[in-house]
Symmetry: none
Amino acid sequence: MPKVGMEPIRRRQLIDATIASMGEHGLADTTVQTISRGAGVSPGIIHHYFGGKDELLAATMRSMLVQLRSDVTERLAAAGPSPRARLEAIVDCNFAAGQFEPRVVAAWLGFWAQAPHNPALSRLQRINARRLHSNLRHSLRALLPPDRAERVTMGLAALIDGLWLRFALTGAMDGSEARAVALGYLDAELGA
Amino acid sequence: MPKVGMEPIRRRQLIDATIASMGEHGLADTTVQTISRGAGVSPGIIHHYFGGKDELLAATMRSMLVQLRSDVTERLAAAGPSPRARLEAIVDCNFAAGQFEPRVVAAWLGFWAQAPHNPALSRLQRINARRLHSNLRHSLRALLPPDRAERVTMGLAALIDGLWLRFALTGAMDGSEARAVALGYLDAELGA
Amino acid sequence: MPKVGMEPIRRRQLIDATIASMGEHGLADTTVQTISRGAGVSPGIIHHYFGGKDELLAATMRSMLVQLRSDVTERLAAAGPSPRARLEAIVDCNFAAGQFEPRVVAAWLGFWAQAPHNPALSRLQRINARRLHSNLRHSLRALLPPDRAERVTMGLAALIDGLWLRFALTGAMDGSEARAVALGYLDAELGA
Amino acid sequence: MPKVGMEPIRRRQLIDATIASMGEHGLADTTVQTISRGAGVSPGIIHHYFGGKDELLAATMRSMLVQLRSDVTERLAAAGPSPRARLEAIVDCNFAAGQFEPRVVAAWLGFWAQAPHNPALSRLQRINARRLHSNLRHSLRALLPPDRAERVTMGLAALIDGLWLRFALTGAMDGSEARAVALGYLDAELGA
DNA sequence: AATGAATGAGTCTTCATTCAT
DNA sequence: AATGAATGAAGACTCATTCAT
């Protein structure tokens, strides 16, 4: 069934299968076979479209990052200029249905664990962390004195990651609960 | 030169080498060879003392958990009955020198990523989470109304994990900063 | 844009690309891809025109053989009936610009190494060897007693191959030097 | 059947199996499997002792070179100071029973074809060529004027290689015939 | 005529594990 | 108690070949 113009379709298919496999087996047990079987194609196709497993993994992480970024951009645009609304928008992105989903969270966790030992993943991870940080800080500086803004930025960023992590590990939480905890922190720090 | 009483020495040696290897190469690239080479012994010895790699990994996680637990017990004993002091003690444990160390944090991260796909690790991880949760909740209930206590428990637990995670990923933080962020959260929530 | 009469053009194009690839990567690392890329066509085309890689390789060797043969025929015709002139003509062919060229010599070497394990190549190689042998012997018999003619035939044939080989391996020689060595041997044996 | 001190035994065994496989299948079709099967061991053992296939191939070529070198050294010592005797000794080495054997010659041919595309093999090949060249030239200079000595050096070296090559390709020759051709060349050049 | 998508067999390599010593 | 020789299954990757378009 060879067809023309399959490239974007196959790439998406393989990236989705990678996320699915990471959700099911973890990064360590995600092989070229688990991915290709999940996508319903032959193992060789991965090298045809990505050149190798490593590049597919990097492309997968990149794809998740792009998704997150476009969510944020969109919500920030809708949030208007109010700092409080912008902070809420950022929190909302991170716990929205698309991102806060077992498979996706497990994939992030796998990448996080591998990143310190893999330059490509590390770079992507750092870009993401910096962007979140910078978005939060920008709004918090409008609401708090500089040193507190800085501390709350770190806290809120860490809290978001921590809530993801606990979700990945226990599953005993849903997006709205996580959101409530994060916004509770925000209210407490802003109200003090 | 057969010696007696080598067992506890060798087990500790291998567990330490496992943590070191996880810090250096990550769980995915931690092999029986990297561990045994780090410990300066032959690969076969791992099976002699642990029966296999999996059991050594579980033993390593268990060992880190035991260490954390005894730290907490000790500090809680020293903290006295004051709920605020007890909460501080728990936070302190997590960011004390011994625990908040690159190798150890990387090892935790590796185990976290693997836990959802490995019953033994998952069990240990759950026990740890539950204990932290229960310790925090017990003290928070003395300071806050039940529903808020519950939410702050989740928040503080997630924040602690999130700070660890960011430390593992960026290294741009030390124990005292992390501690300040966590206690800042606590103060904000209690003060509100 | 289907064109007519593309067959001879494509076949030549692919054979040239095969020689080029063998010169650059060696036979072992000459793949359908290195060839088709060098020819600027798709990999599938090789099977269209040659039925497979093996047949293309055989066709390439055959083409080199045909080239050599026609050179020899032409030069022998020009050399006239003198045995000495005919021997010189044969030597000249082997070290003329077209044949004594890095890519071509490397291709020959690759085929030589493969021939003992490949019936098709072996057959071609044997035909070539026999023709050279017979050409040399025919002229040498006019100049030397039978047993010496036979030995010098073997010697001259081996010397020609050996000079090629050293050129392939070291490159530290050009056609005129090689020619001088071969003719020096001839003179020494004839003069003795 | 694990034993101690197997290293030298296994290394030799694997090198011999490599030569045998190259003789039977050619370098191109010599795989880790053909070698290990020939040696009666598992494929993994190659990486245990050589780190990989490439290093085994290089070790094999090195071993053949060492063998040739020690033969030459020994025969030259026995030949005494006479230049003619020394030249004969060198020729004899190359066509002695141990070296002039189908498997070994096929292995040399495989390495020759691969050398131009493989730095490690190329280096070994160059060392060998230089040594032969230098040995021949040293004795020839005692018998001929400089420029002729140089040309005969090239000729004799090429002739030796060419006789090997023809033996590899046709098998229609034995050591004593090859020896006679080479010495015939020498006599002709010296006698002229 | 020509492409390039897709396959699957085969290659090298890694690695946990076993076992004679 | 400890070694390290040896295995074999599994991994990523390559490549000649096929085939719908």
